[in-house]
Chain length 191, copies 2
Amino acid sequence: MKEMEDRILTQGEVLPGHILKVGNFLNQQIDSAFLSRIGEEIASLFAESGVTKVMTIESSGIAIAASVGMAMNVPIIFAKKHKSSNVDGKVLSTTIHSYTHGNDYTAVVGADYLLPGERVLLVDDFLANGNALEGLIRMVEQVGATVVGAACAIEKGFQHGGDKLREKGYRIESLAIVDAMDDDGTISFRR
Amino acid sequence: MKEMEDRILTQGEVLPGHILKVGNFLNQQIDSAFLSRIGEEIASLFAESGVTKVMTIESSGIAIAASVGMAMNVPIIFAKKHKSSNVDGKVLSTTIHSYTHGNDYTAVVGADYLLPGERVLLVDDFLANGNALEGLIRMVEQVGATVVGAACAIEKGFQHGGDKLREKGYRIESLAIVDAMDDDGTISFRR
């Protein structure tokens, strides 16, 4: 998506430690017309996939997942993050390691919201090492539902999570893939 | 909004401790057409208010805020919750007490995203004691922006946060106001 690349170049900021700051247009503040276009773009990429549900994990992918769900006219489910692995009730859960925070958390979704046979599109804002996405895939597959693919706004190609999942056969669509970020702020996109 | 009341009655669940569980239609799973209608309903309530920005706090109000922002065609900003009060960079912050979790957290938004003179509509899924909303109001007003009002999907009228803010002169619109929940599951709405 050319607009995503353009905004990364003009409004993004490269910080030390391979951090790409996009708070002013993607995950702290978002232009609502741009958010609509993101939803429509992802919906069109997966238009032929028979998606029955859009799924994300709190919290920075929620707005994008909401937009995709509205564009596809399917329900949206939000996995929650818990610090402990003690989770009440009838739930699906999996442990995910956070590379950013250096700890583990438990992702949880009510078992009633994800049923065998569903065709689930996973959505997130960032795809880096792929840990969060792999966790969502485990949750979907453990109930006998199908992951039709994953759509991310921005993939950090140099952290290889997306390619690892593609090698396993998953369809991963990212609206922009950053293959390199230099300390001087130069950003290279995958072609 | 009649549909919100109907869904609370048919799909909501009253749990001990005055908890209203609406995970199957509002904050863990959401019907995307319903989410669109919520956005349009709130947008029409505040259509004459000159709103320049929609603001919420992570994470359960994000989908609703995204839908409202898209219906009003204004940017959406998401305050983040931090455990510590040590927050880097140029930010606006305020301390909020969580009644649910019995602790304090710091709500933070980048100072660049909220400017003097803006007219801000606050959005959340639940309004109970009003602590979160009061925190967002402090953040908006500390920069010299105006709170045009707040819109919530469900207000727990018996916890009085909404009425306290109305008495202070704020316009608070809730799509359903639950004035009583009995242990036998009976729910009474404000008329």
